[in-house]
């Protein structure tokens, strides 16, 4: 693995441009900026085409003989299937409004990371083979031939886009580079050119039900472990059920929450809340993943992986589905799932059993976001909260790209956080809500070997965090995204050491008062609570004052 440059080295770039045009610059594969090539077995398991051994640093990528035909036919198909693709190929005026909106451009200064040029990489080929002007006038109208170098360039730059849609928010025609990247990656996948980091979770998710490949015993073990920790913290023992037929609600989480800190704390937060409310819910070992790396591969793969959620809801006979905190998972639940695998007419319109609120916005998908559910509880005063338990944390909120620009869940998490924390501060306006900056690791880029790319891509976000660290002493970044929880600790360690990452429901779990006897001394991370520390300090002080006179304990 490439050595990660230090901070100064990382920032030693500017936005200057090479003298020669972008079409004349050959792609240089820089270590640390791309993921390993996919191993063929992984593609074979799920039946993806043209699996073969190759490596990005090779001169020859071992493309099938008719690769050009495959790509051009693939483009022709997709131009018919997706109006977005066709339109976005045609209407860009190169006004440049999107150019400096991409976090990868901001963090690398590489001009091909400007969304408009990332699109031109594909648009130039579109023009050459699908427009009369391009066939006739070639480079005069921005067209170019499709060569193996172009394929390599696509691969390098379509895996330097997190499909965050920030560019799309600024484009006067809504041209969404995420859409173009998605098409580009589909095309690359026709040639067997995925990354290993994406294909691995896809294979796992297809065969085992979740990205990390947890088997039923592993899932149950992990959950038991978390429940033991919860018992240590709260004194209560919880036993969530699995694959239980007839439950009212199926809970679907991103598997990252079952797997590693700090996601596990978020999971503990969900379970505490649902158990405390006495909800009739169950989890599934089969539908044990809400996230979907298939979406970073192809529409078809995404649909295949997503299908298990409705299938499992139907099999278990639940009434509706509750979904945990995850960004891309939720973009798909909102904008794709019902279209792919619906209609979910075997489910009922979700109603909160606690407040009676009918979730009208989920009338068709029958799936409710955990933050909607919890915000509704708090609004209706159905849970007791002690925000002082989070007093050691000065919190800011990072909108994940997908929930912000693919849904518009902006206020619910903020409402919750303001109710469970006493110290909350927003990052600058230009960097939150619909203008949020990506963590730099979305869309399957959260691997280890491309760490430099991730640190660069996440740099603008880290800068915004730094501004609230400096002004308000922020030390915790809250989110509603499993990728954030997995990827941002490294980002913070690199740019803003000392700043932690927390899922919103971990904050809820801390603040949730289970009953009158719920006097906790530690938070879900088993760190001492401020109140406990104060009590101890007082006790110590009392002991210090009383100590010598009582003649006990000496000067301790």
């Amino acid at each position: 693995m490439a050595k990660l440059p230090n901070r100064t080295e990382m920032l030693d770039f500017d936005f200057s441009l090479p003298p020669e045009g972008w079409m004349d610059t050959k792609t240089e594969f820089k270590d640390g900026m791309f993921c390993h090539a996919v191993k063929p077995e992984k593609l074979e398991t799920v039946g993806m085409p043209n699996a073969h051994k190759w490596s990005a640093s090779d001169e020859d990528w071992g493309l099938p003989e008719n690769w050009k035909e495959i790509i051009l036919q693939g483009m022709a198909d997709r131009l018919e299937k997706y109006r977005s693709f066709k339109l976005f190929m045609d209407v860009c005026v190169r006004c440049g409004a999107c150019a400096d909106k991409c976090h990868f451009y901001m963090g690398t200064g590489d001009p091909k990371n400007m969304p408009v040029l990332r699109a031109e990489l594909l648009r130039s080929v579109y023009k050459r083979y699908f427009t009369r002007a391009g066939r006739m006038f070639g480079s005069l109208v921005g067209a170019r031939d499709l060569t193996e170098d172009v394929i390599k360039e696509w691969w390098y730059y379509f895996y330097q886009c997190t499909e965050c849609r920030r560019c799309s928010a600024f484009c006067p025609y809504g041209i969404d580079q995420a859409e173009i990247t998605i098409m580009g990656r589909e095309l690359l996948n026709l040639l067997g050119l995925n990354t290993d980091w994406i294909a691995g979770p896809v294979e796992n998710c297809y065969m085992r039900g979740n990205h990390v490949g947890l088997t039923p015993p592993a899932i149950l073990d992990n959950v038991e472990f978390m429940m033991d920790d919860l018992e240590t913290v709260t004194g209560h023992h919880f036993e969530p059920s699995f694959n239980r037929k007839g439950a009212e609600i199926l809970l679907v989480c991103p598997s990252g929450d079952l797997f590693a800190e700090p996601g596990t704390f978020t999971f503990m937060g969900y379970i505490m809340l649902l158990e405390h409310l006495g909800l009739d819910y169950t989890l599934s070992t089969y539908a044990s993943e809400g996230g979907n790396f298939g979406f970073f591969t192809s529409n078809e793969m995404a649909k295949r992986l997503n299908s298990k959620i409705y299938a499992e809801a139907e099999r278990l006979g639940v009434k509706w589905i509750l979904g945990g905190e995850c960004g891309h998972m939720w973009r798909l639940m909102q904008q794709y799932m019902d279209t792919w695998n619906g209609p979910a007419d075997f489910l009922e319109q979700p109603v909160s059993p606690i407040t009676g609120t009918v979730f009208e916005n989920a009338a068709s998908t029958k799936m409710v976001h955990m933050v909607e559910f919890t915000a509704d509880l708090i609004y209706n005063k159905k849970i007791k909260l002690d925000p002082s338990r989070n007093d050691d944390w000065v919190v800011t909120f990072h909108d994940s790209c997908n929930t912000a620009r693919g849904m518009g869940i902006l206020e619910e998490p903020r409402y919750i956080i303001k109710n469970v924390c006493n110290h909350f501060y927003e990052m600058p306006d230009e960097t939150i809500r619909e203008k949020t900056l990506c963590c730099g690791s979305g869309s399957g880029l959260n691997a280890g070997e491309n760490m430099e790319l991730r640190m660069r891509g996440g740099f603008p976000r880290a800068e915004a965090v730094r501004s609230v660290v400096d002004r308000f002493g922020v030390n915790m970044v809250a989110n509603i995204c499993a990728i954030d929880r997995a990827a941002m600790p490294a980002l913070m360690d690199y740019w803003n050491p000392g700043v932690g990452i927390v899922g919103t429901h971990e904050l809820v779990g801390n603040a949730l008062v289970l009953d009158e006897n719920d006097h906790r001394t530690m938070n879900l991370r088993q760190e001492e609570l401020p109140s406990a520390r104060k009590e101890k300090e007082i006790a110590d002080a009392v002991a210090a004052v009383n100590g010598p006179e009582n003649g006990e304990g000496g000067a301790a």
Binding site: E44, T45, E69, K81, L87, L140, N361, L410
Partner: protein, 358 residues
Amino acid sequence: MRIVGPIIAVCALAGIAWLGTGPLSLYTLFGVIIPYCAFAAFVVGFIIRILNWGRSAVPFRIPTTAGQEKSLPWIKQNKLDNPSSKAGVVGRMALEVLFFRSLFRNASTEKTEDGIAIGSAKWLWLFALIFHWSMLIIVLRHFRLFLDPIPAWITALEGLDGMFQIGLPVIYLTDLGIVAGITFLFIRRVVVPRIRYISQTIDYFPLVLLFGIALAGIIMRYFTKVDMSAVKELTLGLVRFTPQATVTEPIFYIHIFLVCCLLVYFPWSKLMHAGGIFLSPTRNMANNSRAVRHVNPWNYEVKKHTYEEYENENWEKMQALGLPLDYEHVKEEEPPAEAEAGAAEGAPEAANTEDSEG
């Protein structure tokens, strides 16, 4: 060359018109035949392009949401930036088309020594708006040439446009606006390094062409006066299909020849953004896909790993954990475990659908 080329090209086009109507006096060709053909080419081309886009499917509902979505009743929805109804979408689109709402968000990002700074950048928005509005009003004002009697709204528009009564003939604000707008947009392309880097010949060409049209028009109006009654006779004749090209000033023919070039060029160029914006799926769809099912016209069956297969593969483990089971356990050896073996051999079914060739 990317910059000089379009300038030469537009000069050459103007030269052709001058040659054709100065020395050669081909008034009917430049005043009647070419305008009719160009107009027809524009209309047909425009329709073809729209139909062509319309033919492509819209498989998913993918609005770019730029505000709070419709959620719980007590959470305030941003109905324009994140519409959930048709009315909201119309409002959002109107804001985009009339006021370039998304462009208004524009900010500029600068690299500082140890960080980046995001600052305000409304200039592009402002000049783009001045340019487009000026152009729209100028086009509307031109209707005086094609309508008789001249409707009141045109006279009113002219009055408004010439509000400040500067000079004689009165200088129209939109004439200043379009020149200022085009000049800004052109200079921006040339001097801002990033914009220059992404600009192609076909980005400079329309600007130069529009500038040429505006310039010829301004020369006609303010400097070499043309015979307006002859012009009106021609334009009204064109509308009534009894055209008579009695105008003799080449500058007039340069003006309308460049307009004809624009009309022909329009449907096949980036200028089609004018039609495309209305079809943009990230802007013209309501964000309601959780409440109302969106249907993909080409949705097809895909190969799935079913619960039955999953249970069978994990049967022993699941039984040991006491998880509920639905099926009898089928031992691996008995039938050749179909899902896995099939996949390992390239799972023809799935492979075919993935591979667009298949």
